[in-house]
Symmetry: C2
Subunit: 415 residues, 2 copies
Amino acid sequence: MTTILHGNIIHAPSFGALETVPNGYLILEDGVLQTVSPVLPEQYAACPVTDYGDALIMPSFADLHLHAPQYPMLGMGMDLPLLDWLDTYTFRTEARFEDLDYARRVYRRLARDLITSGTTRVSAFASRHTDATLILMEELEKAGVTGYVGKVNMDRNAGPSQEETAESLSETLRWLENCRFTNIRPILTPRFTPACTDGLMESLGKLAAERDLPVQSHLSENTGEIAWVKELHPDCPQYWESYHKYGLWKDRTLMAHCVHSDRREQEAMASSGVWAVHCAASNVNLCSGTAPVRELIERGVRVALGSDIAGGDQLAMNRVAVMSIRASKIKQIETGKPFLTVPEAYYLASTAGHLYFGGGAGFQPGHKLHAVVVDDSAFPEPTRPLTLSERFERSIYLMEKQHIKAVYSEGINRL
Amino acid sequence: MTTILHGNIIHAPSFGALETVPNGYLILEDGVLQTVSPVLPEQYAACPVTDYGDALIMPSFADLHLHAPQYPMLGMGMDLPLLDWLDTYTFRTEARFEDLDYARRVYRRLARDLITSGTTRVSAFASRHTDATLILMEELEKAGVTGYVGKVNMDRNAGPSQEETAESLSETLRWLENCRFTNIRPILTPRFTPACTDGLMESLGKLAAERDLPVQSHLSENTGEIAWVKELHPDCPQYWESYHKYGLWKDRTLMAHCVHSDRREQEAMASSGVWAVHCAASNVNLCSGTAPVRELIERGVRVALGSDIAGGDQLAMNRVAVMSIRASKIKQIETGKPFLTVPEAYYLASTAGHLYFGGGAGFQPGHKLHAVVVDDSAFPEPTRPLTLSERFERSIYLMEKQHIKAVYSEGINRL
């Protein structure tokens, strides 16, 4: 089946690049992009065209770190210190996901809000609850969100709802047996080193190797946590080595935050193929600091962005991209390292995440379409006609749900 | 005429305080608040009640620094260094306001967007154009926005549309003669020291004294600007003294930014009754830094918030409040000074601004009502019933136009 979309095409095929095709065409066969063309190729002249007129067609967003069961506490507790925030809000909120009806309602809403915000790929933490985790996967799949979801493993220092080690493992196996989805797959998710015993970490590392499963966790978010890991693992000179020791530090492992990762830790990421997920809003909200994104990229670390709800208060990834720009400007004032430009931040919020999941670099032929269509005609009237790259920049800053006219995931409009 | 509003009442009568009256009543006579009551007083039992049910009724927002003619460039040029940004966008955009039809369209839209975002008081910069400035005042008044507007004075270093000194003065007089509005009044607006000759500054200082007019301008936004002022006024040890010298540094003068104001400059503000307008988003966007808000307040300087569009990219003052919180968290990481809590930031975005214009401290009886009604029922379902202060916090973080159900300005709902 041929699908043809017409509009102003904008994408970021590589870090820092922005390519535009005014009044262009995307030609799809069974949802797979064939061509990006400035004119309608003659052989398609008779095909119907989905005409988005003067709207912008851009690759959709990917959110590589979010805590799905924290969605109910979005925008709350932000005045509390980290440990009080965890006790008062996070652990109690997550514990509620034993109630599967509640889980269903929250996850259905979250899945829909991801799509309506233009996010089509995620790597999400669920809670420790196997059945609620499966419900999250089901709701994401139904809504058209693709990517990874992890049942959280946590058998120490994790509040009222922590698991026994054996239960954590047996439930992980039960969860994996029941993961039967097309576009949502499992990712092993030890919460973070202080919340997992050595025995649990070791077993998860083995499981990751045996079943070739990806891994996600947290790294070097704040200084107290780093000191804590050092106490728990005196044999590990650095935080990352507590994951490495158990086989969890490997190609495509996602590590959220990396705020305090120094040169050695960054080089360990680059050489092992570990990805950093930058969560700028969350890191400021929780007074953790600002990750050295430019440095990570210069050292060859793959970086993508995460909303990190509900440490982050914004689900919409264009706002997360803007927060990353702001954080990088603060970093520039401090260190002189150049800030992230709008095309660079958009690349990290979009292309980088799609590449993580094996998607295309921007609108690269051969991949199923993941795209968002933005109608910017309701933004304030400019003084002169704008270039496409100006309209792109303005959309990243100003876009809200009501400006999004279509969201393609795996080649299908899910809005 | 008696008006009675029912809902959950929340206000910040003093810095850091948050008072809540669940299921309470606001009683107005001719728009003037008489009582805030937890029950409907008996003498009003027969009066009709405007029932906002479970919604939140909070004082509206005040935006004490915005450049109205920069609204068309919102969210653009943010990757450029300050001087390129001024040349490529700011001066050219403002020059367009010679066209009065264009000015009318942009200003009508801006006035409406202020109301629908919950902002009912402003102190705005217009452009240098007298007639367009009068149109801005007319459109704000029609929409129900109250406060001050200034025709900008700039007779050097201000791009293609700068004025001659004599013209700047005669046009200022013509503008003042034609300011015949009820709730929008003139404020003298020398753009900033580098854009005004000594002669112009001197004349404006005399005018301010003769007609008892308030003054607004910019102060210590970035280090290059500070050095420039020093070159232009070698007799002034500090930036603020270039205003002081000409009688522009006086009670209720509004000074935007104050990012680099040190102890001496801060003390000069406190002792003269000069207000600092903190513009967190703009200061980060333009890589200026972060103003020492906590320090300013501790030293007795009155502080309010400004969106500073279009250096700022957000018109909605709840987002500006959130950006102020984020900036203060970054400041805390750097200096240890405690960050702004949500009630504190809300006070600065609301009560502080209302007080500047002679309004009430929160819902203080004796003042015309300025309030916003927020329906938070569409936010994600919480795990348990929330307290009013949690609902308030979540609203400040998550509120968008579609959640605002009424906006009272001078006692009348203008939405």
